[in-house]
Amino acid sequence: MKRLDARFSIDYPGFHFDVAFTVPLEGTTAVFGSSGSGKTTLLRCIAGLIRVPSGFLQFDQAVWQDDAQGIFLPVEQRRVGVVFQEARLFPHLTVTQNLKYGMKRSNPSLRRIDFAHVSELLELESLFERRVSNLSGGEQQRVAIGRALLASPQLLLMDEPLAFLDQQRKKEILPFIQRLNRELRIPVLYVSHDLQEILPLANHVVLLKEGKVAATGSIQEVFSRLDLPGLVESNVVGAILETRIMEHEPQFGLTRVEFLGQSLFLPQQALPPGAPLRVQILSRDVSLVVGGPPATSSALNTLEATIVEVRNSPGDQYAVEVKLDVGCPLLAMITRKSFYQLRLRPGQKVHASFKAVALS
C-alpha cells in the first residue's frame, strides 16, 4: 500500500518539534493534538513550506525531501493542496479568480474535480464576483477549500478548514471530502479539534503532543486505547464498528446492518445492501443492563458483552470507564453510582444497549 513516510525535527525557542511516522496514503488521516502541539508545523513541513535541516519525506515512491542526499522538491512541484488555518485568499482577485488560480496551473489531464460541482457544494455561486476582502469568516474558509480542491492535488492538507462553519454546512462538506478519498483516491491530512468532525472521516490518526508523536495508527486502535488520558477525549468514542448493510426497513425508516453476525439497527441509509458502513457509538450512549435483555426501551440495539477492564475515567472523576468485548472493543462510560449498584466486575456478562440514533 502507498505510504507517506515523514521525519522532521526543528528547534524553535521554547518548542522542540521532532516527529517520525508513517501513514497509509489512503482515506483521511486525522492530525490531532492540543493547541500549540505542532499540527500546523507538521503540515508546513509536508507541504515543503518549511525546510528543516535534516528532514525526510517520502510520498509513495517519490522522495520529496531527503537532506542526507540534498533532495528537496519545491512546494509548487508537490501538488499538495493546502487549506491554511487562516484562509489566505488573494485579496486582489475575485472569488472566481481565487478559485481558478490553482486550477489554471494544474495539468488538464489530471483535473478530476468539477468547478460547478465544487461551487455548488460549497455554496459559492453567490460569491463569485465578490472581492474577498469583506467575505465573512466562513465564506473565506469555503473559498479556500474550493481553491485547494480545484488545483487537483495528489495530497490534501487541511488545517482546521471548517472551524468557522456551522453544523449544517459541515454535514454537507464532510461527506464530499470523504468521497474525494474514496472515488478520486486523494489522501487527506486533516487537522481538527472537533471529534464529531473527524470520526466519520478519519481512517488513521496521528496524535501530537508537545511536538512529538504520542500515538499513531488506525482510528480504532488509537481510540480504544485507555492509556492516552487527556490527550484526546478518547473516552467519548465507545467504538467504531465496520459493518455491512443487510436490509432496509422502509416502513420504520431503519436499516439493519450486520456486525460480526449480529444485527444492529440504524436510521435508514442511502447505500445498497451489501455496502460497507462505518458505525460509531459514543461511550456515554452505552447503557449496561445486568440480568437478561432490558425491558422494551427506545434504545434499540442490544449486544451481549463481556467486561474486560474497568478504570476510573481520567477525564471525569465521578465516572467509570468500562472496556467491554462485543467482538471488538467497546468503551462504556457510566457513573460510579451505577457501577456500584450494578456490582460490575471484569469477566461479568452484561447487555450493552445503545440507541440507534446514536450511530452515525
Binding site: V75, G81, H92, G102
Partner: protein, 227 residues
Amino acid sequence: MTVPDMDWSPLWLTMQLAGVTVIVLLLVGTPIAWWLAFTRSRFRTLVEAVVALPIVLPPTVLGFYLLTALGPHGLIGGAWKDLTGSALSFTFSGLVIASAFYSLPFVVQPLHGAFEAVGKKPLEAAWSLGASKLDAFFTVASPMAVRGYLSAVVLGFAHTLGEFGVVLMVGGNIPGVTKVLSIAIYDHVEVLEYTQAHFLSAVLLIFSFLVLTIVYTANRRLPIHVS
C-alpha cells in the same frame, strides 16, 4: 501671454528619458527590493545603505563622477566604448544610466516596503497551488504590491523629470540629444527669459499633473484598497 516661439524637442526628449529610466529602474529595482525584503543575509543593511547613497551627493557632483565613469576613459564608458565603439557620456543611453543611478533609491525603497508588507503568506498559498516562484511573483506579489509600484513609478518618473544636475553634467545640454526640459527651463532662467521659463514650467507642471492624476485615478480602480 502669447505662446512663446518654442522648440518642443526637449519635452519629447524628457518624456523619453523619464519613461525609459522608469522602465530601467523597475527592472533593476524590483530584484533588489525583493532581495532586500526577503533575504536573511548579513549584508542586507549594507546593500540598503549603498542603494540609498547616491542621493546624498549633490547632483552636479554625482554627475561629475558619473561623467568620469561614463566617459571614454572611465570604468563604464571605457568598457562600453570597447564594446560599441563610442563612449556613454553625452548620449541618450548615458543619460538613462545616470538618471537610473540617481533615482534608484526612489524606486527601491517603496518596492522594498511593499514587498515586506505583502509578506510570505500569500506567496506560500500561491506556491502550494502550483505557481512557480516567478509566476507567484507576477500574479500575487506584484499586484498586491501595486501601491509600492505606484509610488516607485511616480517618484522615479517625477524625479527624472526634475532631475537636472546629473543630466546637465552627463548629457552636456546638447539640443535634440540630451537637452531635456528641465535644462531648457534652466537655460531660459539663466538668460533672464522669464516668460519662456514660466511657460515651459507650466507645460511641465500641467503635463505632470495630468500624468499623475491619470495614474492615481487608475490606481483607485485597482483592487487593493483599504477596507
